[in-house]
Symmetry: D5
Subunit: 147 residues, 10 copies
């Protein structure tokens, strides 16, 4: 049986061959474009129904559809941190991580921003000097428990 | 002369002693709270006027004020990636990096999201199930040049 | 002003000199022994009142008491992972991490065990073949958000 | 002949296909659910009888049954430490490792908590604010020998 | 379907077999020799037309031509940094990186040299003491945004 | 006696205090701006005469002048590779390293580009869409010796 | 107060100055030469009586004597693994580790050799071709617990 | 042709299938059990005669017998240092490495313990509190040459 | 087509099967034994004529002969630095690197020893106390260019 | 008391101030220039007589003279492997390590070249195309012991 990462490759090839966009796949899954992309790339859990809907749209074989329901892959194999686009996101964490830390602590007290009870959106914002990418990270604040 | 990182420690100690908030410091600098925090922590360039204004508010000595005008520190010493709050931001890049990469490429073509022509904002959003932290990354899209 | 890690060293030296136990310090802080130990070692946030109470018991100077109220240190400097005692805890994660992962997923669905909304206790259990250390990790289950 | 890690993949696929739970496999092995899960994932030694019992329940082929009796895999390949669920367990070691170290030393003297003469249990604890995962680490205290 | 790195190997083998030079391939692509080499090695985006043109010249099979239109590979797998020729380029960054940093900051202010809005050329310069390689890096200056 | 890296800090502080530019220091040394910057930052060998000339211009104390004649520091301490400006230079090596390798090999045969018999220049090139930084690497080709 | 590693340096300097041998120090501590050396270097727990006895023999100041009773340092700072003598011990683990693993498993079943309930001795064995160092590792076998 | 590590897997599988012990294989090779185990696992040079003798006993095919005469594999692939049993041997080097270093230097002068002119033995020692593993490292002392 | 490293394996197998020595292969190539060994192992460029001559002697198939003319592999995959023999060469660099650095600088001025315009020879020197290996590194001195 | 590395800095400063050459220091020590340089840089054991002779020549204070008799520093702190001159020596090991390994094994059988029973010499060889550095590594062959 193919793995989640094999399924990812099949999804990308099929999407390219069929000329689909991520929002069309999202419609089939009944979820947001961002979550759906993440799921098809292997980072979210898909129900059998969602896997089947995606499989129908993308004309995937049965093994790949089943592989889409395997446990998600969210470890270091999920992305190449040295890819220039991804690296810049990591650089934002490096350069602004202590700023976020200070501001969260001042506003909320001691705790963290959840990466689990979390949503991400990406939007294009037109700008005469060059369009901009706006990425929104929306995570629940979790205070450290004291006992 | 103290370094930028020494100045950061003095700023944090003075801010605590005087009971100031980051937005008060931002007002003195004439910039947003996020940029101002980042600057006082050492990751942005401050003009002598801004350093003096901050020094007046925070009652810093002359050496520290001068140190605030040194080159910013944006390398790996800027933040500890193993701090739990910062780690979760890095985990977002690990888990959602390929999603952002796919969506940017589909929408804009081959390029990256600038971490230089870039703004970051942090907001608290009330939620009955627990308030949320919304962090917005806003970077110019830069297409790869072809020659 | 001393750092949180300097304060830790002073606390350990004073505790040794005065012949105190961690549960006595916990009583002064009004918290559990485990949390109190963690706080005195620098991994939790102490209120000024708690810092003062600890300072009175441990006969700490004013600078150290103030340093106890600094931001906690929870990054990689908090512990030496190559220390034999700590290493074995890490080995448990290596050997049993996939087991915990499987069982949590089966019982709760896709998510993680919080290390923030989290309590740890340590207990001695008498055993004729050699007493045992029982460490309990108690964390809230956090499901991955779908959007 | 397949390896222990190949056998693990076959076990997970068969368990999914047959809709079994880990406690059913544990019953077949005559051991606790936690140990049995760990063994089927490749981290414990299985007797030929246990391998056969598991093979019958999971309808495994003879090669996979034999592979289940190979030496366990407990090195770094046993788990991905960057998986978010596993990472949080590792973060507990980072944040609370020195606390455990202090408390063990105070209570027992100089030594370690065995990761070999060791049991792990996982339990779900209902909580109106969100159910909790309670993981118990139970290891024999081993004092450093003096000679 | 072959990957971009598989396509790279096929391109190199075909180029060798057919006795072609990079500038001939560049002519087929209608781009500079440097960009074209980089694209054929997998680090730039090729249009289907460019891939076909290259495929015709290099007598590549259809699968390889299609693979040439896959997303570029620009992460750490793109090059072996320990190869002696590549290492020396990296050494230049090590030895002269702070010099470039100082001079850019003095001339342009706080910002970076883009590696995206970027061109690279390589030229042979005859020299009686041994010919020289002149590599020109030409990147847009990007100032840090202040907000 | 101060080290080369101590001398570097003193040079940068004096340059700032006196409002000098690197080309003025270069004039005092009788060398190019790029080499002179590199030398003052600690990566080149200065003669006692050059150190004295720089010391006179920068009003350095005798110990610092002597430290300028110490062996250069060209190891990994010479620069922070995670600084965003420096990182992009390293990324150029990652993305274009194999291209340079191919083109050098085709043009010159088997060998490397010297980083020792080497010159670097930096120039500002005006551009209506944003000025550009042009960095030229000029190194002697060294063929592998066959024996 | 000095640390355990500071105390180690003082012990080595005093031992050198006074011309003592490790077995004389061992006699003062009432333990074997190997354990005593290890304790004076900081890797074992010394009682106040032992620290005092060592301090009397080595003419250490009170602060150093007290530092000898601090928690032992057994993490990666205890030794430099790249020192040639130490490296060869590590190489033995690399070359013969799987052999020991196989033989222990065959003889004892699934378990490990304790590094805690452990003794080490070193002996000189005369040999006409060059004297030999015989190091004996003596650790309790610990079987993996099954539950 | 299989590699030395392939041959190792075949040897382990055959040994298991035939129910052989390492000392029986040692008898066939005419060497000690420890050396023979090490050789069959790939870390020693076997003569064609020894390879044939082992092949006869273990019923290995001709390719595997030939592979046993390949150069030994003694690099980092020879063992997994994160395996719990092997890790404890490495921990012994970490904790006691400086002790061995001190004692060797005191007894022999400046030099090292050879890991080449070296023998290792493993023995079981009965003990009412639990049997013990005694591993003996026996290496020639090599003094640093002075010239 | 096989890679250079595949060709290396074929060369070693053929050399073993045919009972050849490296100097016989060197004769076929018309080069020194050291260079020839290095070339057959994949670290030098072979002409088609040399590849054919080696292929005739070693009875290699056409694909392997062609693979011998591929670009050399000189990156970190060329050798395993943890192999005991290779490690000791690296240790020589660690222990004597600063000595070579001092002596070269004193004798030649600021520069390096070329590893490209470089020859290596290996010789056996008989010695009644045990024969010795004499390895000669012969590299052109390259002075740092000043501009 | 200063450390061996402190003594090294003092030696280098004094040598520079007094205008001495390494061979003059070697004469004072009664050893070769290479060994003497290595010893003064901290990598060899000096007798008190040698330390005194060096101290007299270099006008070192008593503490530094004593520090010269401390244990040598041969671990990774002995040299910076990223220094360009040292790096090239390491590159030689990378590129030619497998060649040396093959030739040693063919000539001597299974074993290593000692880095302990070892001598290093450096010589200048005049060459019209640029003088050359000849470094000779001379180590005893040590065969693997079989038992």
């Amino acid at each position: 049986m193919p793995t989640r990462l094999d399924a990812r490759r099949s999804v990308l090839a099929a999407k390219k061959r069929l000329g689909l966009r991520w929002d069309m796949i999202a419609t089939a899954l009944g979820r947001s474009t961002e979550w759906s992309t993440s799921a098809m790339l292997g980072q979210q859990t898909l129900t059998p129904e969602q896997a089947t809907a995606a499989g129908d749209l993308l004309e995937l074989d049965a093994g790949t559809v089943e592989a889409l329901t395997l446990s998600p892959e969210r470890g270091s194999a999920a992305v190449d941190p040295s890819d220039p686009l991804v690296y810049r996101l990591g650089e934002v964490v490096q350069v602004y991580g202590s700023t976020v830390s200070e501001l969260v602590r001042e506003e909320f007290g001691d705790g963290i921003v959840s990466a689990i009870d979390f949503e991400l959106t990406m939007e294009r914002v037109a700008d005469p000097k060059g369009d901009r990418v706006v990425i929104t990270l929306n995570g629940k604040f979790l205070p450290y428990r004291v006992w």
